[in-house]
């Protein structure tokens, strides 16, 4: 089922959580709402769920206005950051809850409930925990149970609020891949909120980058990473170096982008910076301050002649061929850069 968000606005006192947001979620896709805390992503998710009412605007579910539909009737599955499992119920009863509270005439009988719950527990690969209580499970297991519980009511939309936010890095990674596989299996329209760019880029079909109650960019993970629409997106998705053209006139042209006058800023990713030992046209002199090998990459911290810091990243192989040392003087050249007008910057 598709979701259409039409100029949704929401104020909390004097704080604008959402500023006339428009968005369309396609049927069956896995969409990530990405942004720093306080950007309005959770509020938007809660408005879609019906847990929060917008001040103005409309929500359409499959073309039908659902703005005033109660949470109960929206048929959404919601997964909370802190699981919100019912502590006094077993895992089985937690998952069965949505089926047991149905009105009598639509409620499945006990054998049917049993079959469905075990089917879902198998889907999340935790059938063996059916008789345990939530307190006896690990964080990752709890979140998978929470997901099974949300899926039990056969929701038309699955909404996940920072689903992996409370878990440690290793479990997060596992669950990310697992969520992606699960989505391929059940294929329900899903929206998940995250502040972790890696998570959004890895899991989602499309990423919505939000900032200060507005949408900055919507696109596939490749689109938002490779061609950021705004300086904010550039900075939020990964590390970036800023070159002020006013300071080093002409430098921004190196990236083969026309410069929009004097007040322009070039954005260059650390892995797009090329290091040369000999001076060449259109390069800048720099001094290497630190060299750090981090896993598969080597990160170099440099400073320009005017003192501005620059970060560069090399692969292990590239570094092994050159063996740069700290204190050495080098010349840097960006392979690609993106230029934004100065006043547009953050």
């Amino acid at each position: 089922m598709s979701i259409e968000i039409q100029s949704i606005a929401k104020q909390f006192g004097s704080f604008t959580a959402l500023d006339k947001v428009n968005l369309k979620v396609e049927t069956g896709e896995l969409l990530a709402l990405l942004g720093p805390s306080g950007c309005g992503k959770t509020t938007l998710l809660r408005i879609i769920a019906g847990l929060e009412t917008p001040d103005s605007g409309q929500i359409l579910f499959h073309g039908e206005d659902a703005t005033d539909t109660h949470v109960r009737e929206r048929q959404v599955g919601f997964v909370f950051q802190h699981y919100a499992l019912f502590r006094h119920m077993t895992v089985f009863e937690n998952v069965a809850f949505g089926l047991r509270v149905r009105p009598k005439h639509t409620r499945p009988n006990n054998t049917e409930i049993k079959r469905r719950v075990h089917e879902l527990l198998n889907l999340v690969q935790l059938d063996w925990l059916a008789d345990r209580y939530p307190a006896q499970l690990s964080g990752g297991q709890r979140q998978r149970i929470a997901l099974a519980r949300a899926l039990a009511v056969e929701p038309k939309v699955l909404l996940l609020d920072e689903p992996f936010g409370a878990l440690d890095t290793k479990v997060r990674k596992e669950l990310r891949r697992w969520l992606k596989r699960l989505h391929e299996e059940v294929h329900v329209t899903s929206v998940f909120v995250t502040h972790d760019q890696e998570e959004a880029l890895e899991v989602a079909d499309r990423v919505v980058v939000m900032n200060k109650g507005r949408i900055e960019q919507v696109g596939t993970p490749e689109q938002v990473y490779d061609t950021p629409a705004t300086p904010f997106v550039y900075q939020f998705l990964g590390d970036v170096n800023l070159f002020h053209s006013r300071v080093h006139g002409g430098f921004a042209q190196v990236g083969e982008h026309p410069v929009a006058g004097d007040g322009a800023v070039a954005y260059v990713r650390p892995h797009d910076i090329e290091l040369l030992r000999e001076p060449a046209p259109q390069t800048l002199a720099a001094k290497i301050d630190h060299v750090r090998a981090i896993g598969s990459i080597v990160r170099l911290e440099l400073s320009l002649e005017n003192g501005d810091p620059v970060e560069a990243e090399l692969s292990r192989d590239a570094y092994a061929g050159q063996r740069y040392a700290s204190g050495e003087r080098v010349y840097i050249r960006p392979r690609s850069a993106r230029v934004f007008a100065e006043d547009y910057a953050i």
Binding site: R72, V76, F78, A84, F86, R87, F97, R132, A135, A150
Partner: protein, 277 residues
């Protein structure tokens, strides 16, 4: 299992020793004195005292009325706590403070006030008398007094639990299609149940021992509205110390068994839900 679990917290020996000494001085020694004094009676005499018609009737009234009062407080207390936690209204702080009043008020004052209200010529008693209900000087009066003094126990134990109940649980239930009533019965009530049981136990225990507020409203008619503590005082005034302690010992025993039973239920409940290992 070892007696002392290894722990980073220092002072186990000191704290444990203090606890034992404190409990001994305040609880164990006086209570053993009670039992020892009782043994000055022969078994037959003891049995004669505690099985006399008047004493048995008093036991029935005290425990029966305490139980009824605690059950009433269980529901009324939950309701009051719910209102205080979930709604905001003008004067909420005052209502909140009013709940503690039965704690602070001298029980005799409470007893006289309740008697004045519920006596057949009192403000409420008059209206009830028209319906043929007499409260004061009847067992019903005892229940009213015990309900009054027990209310804060339930409210004050349940209130923090309701306060801490995550809103997400109710939101999750709503997303899963549960209506408000189902959410209350299946999510909120079970979450508050351990605290409710604690409050119930406290209210019940307090009611069993209550003296001051009851004697005024009860009328103290033997075999009808006479409570055990009053019987004990009566025996003491007649210098029948052994008889008084005999009645008290039986009361102590029944109270202990009842409270232990409730604690076991709580322990079993917590264990069943995996909250304790």
């Amino acid at each position: 299992m070892r007696f002392k679990q290894p722990s980073v917290l220092p002072g186990f020996n000191l704290a444990f020793g203090y606890t034992i000494v404190y409990l001994s001085l305040l609880v164990l020694i006086p209570l053993s004195a009670l039992v020892i004094k009782t043994t000055s009676l022969s078994l037959a005499e003891f049995w004669q005292v505690v099985s006399s018609e008047r004493v048995v009737a008093a036991y029935q009234l005290t425990f029966g009325a305490s139980l009824i009062a605690a059950v009433i407080n269980l529901f009324a207390g939950l309701l009051v706590a719910w209102v205080l936690v979930r709604y905001s209204f003008p004067g909420k702080r005052i209502v909140d403070a009013l709940v503690d009043l039965p704690f602070a008020l001298p029980t005799a004052v409470a007893g006289i006030a309740l008697t004045t209200l519920y006596a057949p010529n009192g403000l409420i008693g008059e209206q009830l008398a028209k319906l043929g209900i007499q409260v004061a000087f009847k067992p019903l009066g005892v229940v009213v007094a015990l309900t009054f003094i027990g209310l804060p126990f339930v409210v004050r134990t349940v209130q923090p639990v309701l306060q801490d109940l995550e809103a997400e649980l109710e939101e999750a239930a709503a997303c899963l299609g549960a209506n408000r009533w189902q959410t209350f019965c299946k999510i909120i009530f079970p979450a508050a149940l351990p605290a409710l049981l604690t409050g119930f136990t406290l209210a019940f225990a307090r009611a069993i021992g209550e003296y001051g507020s009851v004697i005024f409203i009860a009328g103290n008619i033997p075999l009808e509205s006479e409570i055990v503590p009053l019987l004990i005082i009566g025996k003491l005034e007649q210098y029948d110390y052994a008889g008084a302690t005999a009645i008290a010992t039986v009361m102590l025993l029944i109270s202990f068994v009842l409270i232990l039973a409730i604690n076991l239920i709580q322990w079993w409940h917590a264990r069943r839900h995996g909250m304790r290992k």
